[in-house]
Amino acid sequence: MHRFALAGNPNSGKTTLFNGLTGSTAHVGNWPGVTVDKREGVYKKFDEPIAIVDLPGIYSLSPYTPEEVIARNYILDEKPDCVINIIDATNLERNLYLTTQLLEIDVPMVLALNMMDAVEKRGDYIDEKALENRLGIPVVKISALKGEGLDKLMERAHQVCSVIRYGKTVIEDVALKHLIGDIKIALEGQGVSNPMFHAVKLAEFDEIEVLMHKDTVNMVEAFKKSHQYDGFGDDFEALIADARYKYITKYFSPTLKRKNKEKFVVTPSDKADKVLTHKIWGIPIFLVILFTIFHLTFSENLFFLGGLLPEGWVSFEGTAFEGVFGAGGINSPGVMLMSLVEILTTFISDGVATLLATSPEWVSGLICDGVLGGIFAILGFLPQILVLFLFFSILEDSGYMARIAFILDRALRKFGLSGRAFLPMIMGFGCSVPAMINTRTLADEKEKIATVRVIPFFSCGAKLPILTAVSGAIVGYFGVGNVDFITYGMYLIGMITALVAVVLMRETTLKGDTPPFIMELPAYHAPQLWNLVMLLWDKAKHFIHKAFTIILASTIIIWVISHFSFSWNYLSDDLMHQSILGGLGQLIQPLFTPLGFGSQLNGMGWVFAVAAITGLIAKENVVSTLGTLATCLIGTMIDIESDGGVGAVSIMIANTGITLPALLAFIAFNMTTIPCFAAVAAAKGEMPNKKKFNWTIVFWVITSYIVASALYLIGTAWWTAFLYLAVAIVAITIIKFTNKKREKIGK
């Protein structure tokens, strides 16, 4: 099967072209060793099918970013039969810069002039024949968005794919051309393939090439000594980049006949930007958009219309659709979809429960509560995850995401992050899973790892019940404070923890300069529905796959150890304290003593540990486990549905004697420790290797331990705050000192 590779700049319409060519055959994976998307699919309109590989979007073939190295190595090593270079015809010069580098590789090539519809709409014209003659490869005008010219493009690609094409360079400087020619001959003598490409890169003194061809480097060094270029010195990287652009402006730019001769034209995008990145209104507008997205995903009272509606205007009470439209208000699309999935899953669980009515109790327990309960708990999140993901994809696709990064970059730089990191962190308030997947928009690997690690500290929707139940019980039992105040306070502690952790990581284990922020602000355009559908379908597939594999396995394990005793007898829910998990909880209880819910609670501290462990399945479980265990304690059924678990926690307080600071520590522990399995799986997918993933788990455990114990100790004896302060000062001094020392050595 022939294999064609798609190469081009980001925002050149590459993904749209790829989807247009491959349709439903596309699948997405990762390039080996990195979390950059690898898209593959099949073009089926010819007699023989053709494999299409979508290379990462790149501006150049420099050795400095993983995407560029992937694309370069793919073309050089995997030798596709043809490279389809797609360029944004509305932005000819910069897009052709990559073309001049691709031309140097010995591979058949076709140039796709995309967005021709936009060019024509402007009244401009591109002479593709002149381009074709200059480049020596076929040039085809297409519109990936409208699906125009795709078949012609593939035909031309198919024609050239079996014809050998040798690399050629656009560098015209005579002396430099000689040097490249000499290196090329030397490389050919060594039997190196793609000699032209390697020769030019060697002349650039490209990091990768210098290591690969150590014996040929001296030719470049000798040349550099004898040739000085005005304004460049011996910076040949600059010289060659300059030569490429000179060639482009000299020969390619005239192929574009512009109707409007003004140098800097005001486009519709500029008008939109006048408002959206406005000096004063830019940030408020962003906050309103953010709030609207969360509102549409999570609100049960859409646009606060609830108060205006006549009571019970859409009461579906008693019907199967109860809950879809909400009570006392209108549900947001996110909540509606979630309720629909709930109706479906309840229907299935009820059906299965009826079928298993006669089987042993542990069988129905395992299947209904363990397997189905686990899967459905996870699938229950899916609608909201997808809705949230859809909104953020629209932001990305429309070009607004780049503006958000632009607006916020300054504020985030203080923490060693770039403007793009803000969005995934804020998404964490909704759900960690899409937030972690969104970190793919971060170019810098270290920045990305740090961001993924702190996302769970932005307390997600599923952790809110823990907050309301425990703070409700604190207010009710101790009669202090205010539920809202405690809740917001805990959210704040989570955010502060995240920011402190990011700064610490960026100063120690994930050290690195803030990545450069030299990026294109693409023109705004309407998001493409088909692209979004494909993207969502892909995310849903991944998520469901995970729900049925690692998440399911972990869920079953936790169900089994919480429903079987050490002598392997099945235990019903109300006997959980006798289970393996209960036993383990009692065993590890002393570990939680510094956190206030360990051995000091008359041997009852383990209930909190067990609740936290079941929270790994889904954080909602923390409160329901506390309810179950409260039932075990007092022997009567506790209903957590009616009061959100406040009563259950109050019983726990009465029976264990847990103190107020310890309760706060318990909330903080759940907020900052290992997130639910779904989020753990998402984090694993975004980590570059196993080691980094393992350290992430360790990081979560340690952070939650430190934050929770600090809350408990300072809350119990206020003067310990000074101890923490002293330790913090010492730690900061040590970090500063070692960093300075390292810098000195570095210099």
Partner: protein, 76 residues
């Protein structure tokens, strides 16, 4: 008049005469079309004064002041 890009005010434009700085950043600037002779027009500054948005080779590019200070231009 000659000055670096970070010293420009909104609406000013100039022609690049040199690019300095760390190799990796320099290369990125070249790759994005900021080479000697390229015309740059300062469009806008972010709400907090940094980064900035410029037009170069008829597209919009954003960069930080720290990166803009590597670019020296002849004001036009």
């Amino acid at each position: 008049m000659i000055k670096t890009l970070d010293k420009f005010s909104i609406g000013e434009s100039g022609v690049v005469i040199s690019v300095s700085g760390e190799r990796k950043i320099k290369r990125r600037l070249y790759d994005m079309g900021i080479t000697n002779g390229a015309e740059i027009y300062l469009r806008k500054k972010a709400p907090l004064g940094d980064p900035i948005e410029v037009t170069v080779r008829s597209y919009e590019l954003s960069l930080r002041n720290s990166e803009a200070s590597c670019i020296t231009l002849e004001v036009t």
